[in-house]
Amino acid sequence: MTSSFDPEKLLNKTLVSLPPSGIRKLFDIASTMDNVISLGIGEPDFITPWHIRNAGIRSLEKGRTQYTSNSGLGELRSQTAKYLKRRFGMDYNADEILITVGGSEAIDLTMRAFISPGDEVIVPQPSFVCYGPLAELAGAVPVYLELKTENDFRLTAAQLREKITSKTKLIVLPFPNNPTGSVLEADELKEIADVIRRTDAAVLSDEIYAELTYTGKRHVSVSSLPGMRERTVVVSGFSKAFAMTGWRLGYAAAPANIIKALTKLHQYAIMCAPSASQYAAIEALSEGDGDIEEMKREYDHRRRLIVDGFNSAGLTCFEPKGAFYCFPCIKSTGLSSDEFCRRLLEEQKVALVPGNAFGSSGEGFVRASYAYSIEHIKSAIAGIIRFVGSLRK
């Protein structure tokens, strides 16, 4: 052994070259300050409803502490299939569902199951930060597609068509969208599906926020459009719909042959999702529809309040129709997203996430989560109004 041995040099080069998440940067500063009013966290503020927690506890009391089958409890898989049918009119059998450790695992599995070195993965941005890095780690070249502010950050068929090449293997559809709150409606999806059907590409549809759409229109899954089911992996989970983030439970829904491939990976890497979480999730799916509606109604009130707040502060904010984020434009202040967030934190102790953390097309915007109490949102907005006012003096 030589003394110059550096274990870091052994690390995977792609991994080392990946930049750290831009969301953390500001929050590392915020965590050193007292009394910060944060609108930064992308996680429900609700606690998992008690009857769901209690089902998890009961499973422990009964000693159900062993592994489940690799693909998840049979009862949970069939409840998931029924839930998708009941809530979104989607047709899946129990053997077309794989229970995963959060939606994130299902995203990773899908990337690794489809990608061979050199494949291209189309990733619309701004979007959740994991798609590009996971695609790269699986050996793909991420092809970023910049969603446009003039379309309220919705994906258009024309934009997608431009990015498709003979190497396109996977198309990520991250709607309802984190961080923008934009959704794709049935007619837009239909045009997008027309483009995708002419390719040999598969679709990773991240529908984790599917339950949280607000304008009276239910989420439409791309998988329910003609010719799309056979090439789509729907990724979702329990975190956002049932406020179950810490239970780490999600699922992938896809045709049985794709699920079989995902399960092969899942069984080597993960074995199975945690049992207690799975028992709790059965309760969530069978008795939890009312909880979803109640939380959604509360989010909707906050959504209107926060959008009104940003607009009152002079920061134009288009109406977010899904998830629990809004994405106001801060270009009128003359500051970059990073500067805006840093100064807002320093001067008013309000924490937002710079839009460019979700891709370069997010520059000039900031993400505010409204998974916070009304009182909290109101004091954050008051700070933002003071800050923007001070810039204009």
Partner: protein, 160 residues
């Protein structure tokens, strides 16, 4: 919409008519009119803050009193209840189904004061057949608000 307005105010009476208008996508002056109506009709009867007095230096005890009473001809329970709820020490009065008729919540500075109040003011009333006094040892939750182990926001920084 009336119930939505009331539910919002029930949870947070500090909300302004403008807040409510934004949250319900309604007209601010319409919300103001509804709130005035609720007040005039006795639908909104008060506006109160929740205090966990156990965390203060104030000395007090609370008791729940079960009362069996004989409703008198032509007077019913309402008039008996009225004779109880006029007392300032009586914080709540409920007409109950089941083993007893009226439930009273009484507050005083100490056990003795509450016991004497029951013995001297309530028990001797003509209509009262029997009383049972239960002292409250600890309040965990009231009107949907948790008094102990209030959940705090301990969400940690995440990449999403």
């Amino acid at each position: 919409m009336d119930n939505e307005i009331l539910e919002l105010l029930d949870r947070d009476s500090n909300l302004t008519a403008r807040d409510i208008a934004v949250m319900l996508e309604a007209d601010e002056s319409e919300i103001e009119r509804r709130i005035d109506y609720f007040k005039n009709e006795g639908i909104i009867v008060g506006n109160k803050i929740m205090i966990n007095w156990r965390k203060t230096s104030r000395e007090f005890v609370t008791a729940l009193i079960e009362l069996k009473v004989t409703p008198q001809f032509g007077r019913g329970f309402d008039q008996i209840a009225e004779r109880f709820y006029q007392y300032e020490q009586v914080k709540s009065v409920y007409l109950m189904s089941g083993a007893y008729d009226l439930a009273l919540q009484i507050e005083g500075t100490n056990l003795n004061e509450v016991a004497l109040f029951v013995a001297e003011k309530l028990a001797p009333m003509d209509a009262v057949v029997s009383t049972a006094t239960h002292f409250v040892l600890k309040k965990y939750k009231e009107d949907g608000i948790m008094f102990e182990n209030k959940p705090s926001d301990d969400r940690q920084v995440m990449v999403l």
